[in-house]
């Protein structure tokens, strides 16, 4: 990932402490990890999807698959 999905800055830029805490764990990604654009996010009771106008959609199902 080139950019932090919670604040949209590069990992080396600034303080990402709030992006790793308990509050961030309750946040879906808001920024595209590839280009830092703000994404259109839709949360449903059992999941979320996030769409970057350039890099397309990611979903909670894919994110789960990555951590499995």
């Amino acid at each position: 990932m080139t950019f932090c999905v919670h604040c949209g800055r590069p990992p080396a830029d600034g303080d990402h402490t709030p992006c790793r805490g308990g509050r961030a764990a309750l946040e879906p990604p808001r920024f595209c990890g590839e280009c830092a654009r703000r994404m259109v996010v839709q949360i449903t009771p059992a999941g979320w999807s996030a769409r970057c106008s350039r890099h397309g959609e990611s979903t909670s199902a894919e994110a789960l698959a990555l951590t499995d």
């Binding site: 919670h6 604040c7 509050r23 309750l26 879906p28 259109v40 839709q42 449903t44 009771p45 059992a46």
Partner: protein
């Protein structure tokens, strides 16, 4: 040994607020007054377990063991013209939330996910001052499609302030409950919202009730209100006498004026929940947003044993919750039956 030291160890103190509450609220079903709620909120940590136990007894006696489980979804996210200082969906603050609109298949899917989790209640929410014709049409079509999909879950809505005409329309669509939070004590509201008034919110709730819908109204704890204002809010809600009070704990949202607020302590959250139960013995008291952050898994259980008898499961509007199954398992462990659809029809 002083008399005071002896009191804390032995028999209950005459005039002790929990002793008074046991007789007044548990035995007679009369909610605490503002001054009494304040006394409860000022009880020390050493009395917290006693307080929670009493709140639980009150809930069991006046509401019963059942728990109502609900799921919610946002049909229109972000871009709201109002300035509620806690809200990441206000278009007035530089928050990362972008506007989104949920289509009908998305609504049907969200209602299905909710029913599959075991919930009997599905609330459709929009970030608006009040609904326009397009939003009402989307809700109408959504409800129709949910029904056509064979899902008979109860449907509630939260679409902001309403006109009488809109209230009547929602009734005609079969919406059985309407959520509109008073958010905080009347005296604190102007610090939280400046684009509309507490009274305007109250007016919508009055129309909702008169039209025969169930009234759902609660708020958010941890927005800089004092204990006095928490007590004030509890009795203002008791005056409203809603069917349901959802209790949220502030999750400070990036970009909002409350971004730097600290989430309230778990013990304080539990004290408030129990105090609200003692002010509202017969009202459905629902755990809503923020409990994951403020209370964690253990605290959620304590709250369920401290006056709470309803819960939002799964994700919220702009924040994620813990998986619904975890809450369903918790209720099974606590031997609390989930309210069935047949009970609420």
């Amino acid at each position: 040994m002083t008399a005071t030291a002896e009191h804390t160890k032995d028999s209950p103190i005459a005039g002790d607020i929990l002793t008074v509450a046991r007789e007044q609220v548990l035995d007679r079903g009369v909610g605490l007054s503002e001054d009494q709620v304040l006394q409860v909120l000022r009880l020390g940590d050493d009395r917290l377990d006693d307080l929670l136990a009493l709140a639980h007894d009150v809930r069991m006696k006046w509401c019963g063991p059942e728990v109502e489980v609900e799921g919610i979804v946002s049909v229109k996210t972000g871009g709201c013209p109002e300035d509620c200082h806690f809200c990441s969906q206000s278009g007035r603050f530089p928050t990362p939330v972008r506007s989104a609109w949920l289509d009908i298949p998305g609504l049907v899917k969200a209602a299905r996910e909710t029913a599959d989790s075991g919930a009997t209640e599905f609330c459709i929410v929009a970030a608006v001052r009040g609904p326009d014709a397009r939003l009402l049409a989307q809700v109408r079509d959504g409800i129709k499609a949910i029904r056509e999909s064979g899902n008979d879950i109860q449907i509630a809505c939260s679409l902001g302030m309403l006109t009488q005409e809109q209230v009547d329309e929602l009734v005609a669509m079969g919406v059985h409950r309407y959520n509109h939070n008073l958010e905080t004590a009347k005296s604190h509201f102007p610090q939280v919202v400046t684009t509309h008034s507490w009274e305007e919110r109250w007016d919508t709730l009055r129309m909702v009730r008169e039209a025969g819908m169930e009234v759902c109204s609660g708020g958010i704890i941890g927005m800089g209100e004092t204990d006095e204002q928490r007590a004030e809010f509890a009795v203002q809600l008791a005056d409203l006498d809603p069917h349901e009070v959802p209790m949220n704990f502030l999750i400070p949202q990036p970009g909002t004026p409350y971004e730097k607020y600290e989430p309230i302590e778990g013990k304080d959250a539990l004290r408030v929940v129990a105090a609200f139960r003692l002010a509202l013995p017969r009202t459905m008291l629902r755990f809503a947003g923020g409990r994951e952050l403020t209370l964690g898994d253990l605290g959620a259980e304590k709250g369920m044993l401290g006056g709470v008898n309803a819960i939002i499961v799964g994700n919220y509007l702009t924040n994620l919750g813990r998986p619904a199954q975890q809450d369903i398992d918790m209720l099974a462990d606590l031997k609390m039956p989930i309210k069935a659809l047949s009970d609420s029809l």
